[in-house]
Symmetry: C2
Subunit: 230 residues, 2 copies
DNA sequence: CGGCATCCGGGAAGATACTG
DNA sequence: CAGTATCTTCCCGGATGCCG
């Protein structure tokens, strides 16, 4: 019967499992879905922004993921006020709360022996990693405003009381210091790879503006978790 | 050229992304992979156990997932000592640490408007949910040993100092009280659905042995997070 | 250019049957 | 019981084209 077929089709992707984890996989377990959420974690983005940050994700799949995430109530599409008029995709409040999932998965996977931290990295991905990998003990008592410029993307990280809110901004006027790097992996090499700032600056991969001491102090606050098994 | 093709094929499943989250998806982002890990969280299981706990997962896919998780260092296969001689799958130490990922995903997804808590639930899934949904404030100062019997599966939950270690056991001798339910959803209805124990007992879905007051006290310590948006 | 539909090839998932 | 072999179905990913 056709009607039974429809039921089967509707069930096809379901795990038929009351477990919240299983439901989470139905919501965001499709390929690329969680990475689309990641790219939206620091504010609304346009279709093309998302494509640029996720090379390998084709337009049709992105369209499909956006529709599924919207249907699930994780994001909404919004039209910017004139004159921009462009359409952007924005997480709902609940969608933003998915950051803990992204963080825990990232923290756990960073311990994998197979993790290769030298691959390309999107600006948002780098900024989010700081919130995950901040050594909150080492940061206790420190108050710093650090800016980041990756091409056109500007971010401001405001460290205070061991919390590290990060926002996309239009200018970096309030920053104590600013890291300028066309390629986010350069900053990652400094924060996580132990590569000295001087080396990166010598390669032209990184520039530090403003209070250099504050910048280096900030850079010392991050640490990757130890590798598993090895 | 063929050799370039091979490279492309090797890359097919990779996200080419240094982000830990992306690597996590390569490790455990395939369909069913995280649920296989979930079923192993409370100790080694056999191939058939896993199949029984994950209806809808076919044998060939399970074989493939087990091989991939083993290659990633998340689990190992081990042969039980004679006379059992059976082969079991067991998480590595790092694999067990993936529980935080499962918890965060479950906690977040439980807030989805689309979550249906009346679906079937595996015994392990129910037991793990208690660790996620325990109201640690309400549990402060309480010390309880509560047993669970679902068919042949016996578990002992030892609440103490707001921690809730749970282990698969061979007998429930040390328990203050024991919940007996052939279908785990019956216990879920009590803990999360607000269904009174008397109703479930009247339906024959649940039996409480031992210290009834301790059992009901325990059952009052769990709460689902509020639904998002609504 | 942004967004989305359509077609195609390859490969993964799912169901069934079979083997040690 | 623990997988393997086979076949079908459908998703992913790339290319093309349409439309505002």
């Amino acid at each position: 019967m056709k009607s039974e077929k429809v039921t089967d089709e509707a069930r096809r992707r379901s795990y038929h499992d009351a477990c919240g984890t299983a439901h989470g996989l139905e919501l965001a377990g499709d390929r690329w879905a969680l990475l689309v959420m990641r790219e939206l974690m620091l504010g609304p983005r346009r279709f093309g922004d998302l494509r640029a940050s996720l090379p390998g994700l084709s337009a049709n799949v992105l369209t499909q993921r956006l529709a599924e995430l919207e249907a699930a109530g994780i994001l909404r599409r919004r039209r910017l006020p004139a004159p921009a008029g462009a359409q952007v995709y924005e997480l709902t409040e609940w969608g933003y709360e998915g950051e803990t999932v992204i963080q825990e998965l990232g923290r756990w996977a960073a311990r994998s022996p197979g993790h290769d931290p030298t691959l390309p990295l999107s600006p948002v991905s780098l900024m989010l990693s700081m919130r995950t990998m901040l050594d909150r003990e080492a940061a206790a008592g420190l108050t710093l405003a650090i800016g980041f410029r990756h091409g056109d993307s500007l971010f401001l990280a405001r460290l205070a009381r061991s919390a590290l809110p990060i926002a996309r901004v239009d200018d970096l006027d309030g920053a104590d210091a600013v890291f300028v790097a066309d390629q986010p992996p350069a900053v990652a090499a400094l924060l996580y790879g132990g590569v000295p700032a001087e080396v990166l600056e010598g390669q032209g991969a990184l520039r530090i503006e403003g209070d250099r001491e504050a910048a280096l102090r900030y850079a010392s606050l991050f640490r990757l978790p130890p590798k598993a098994g090895g």
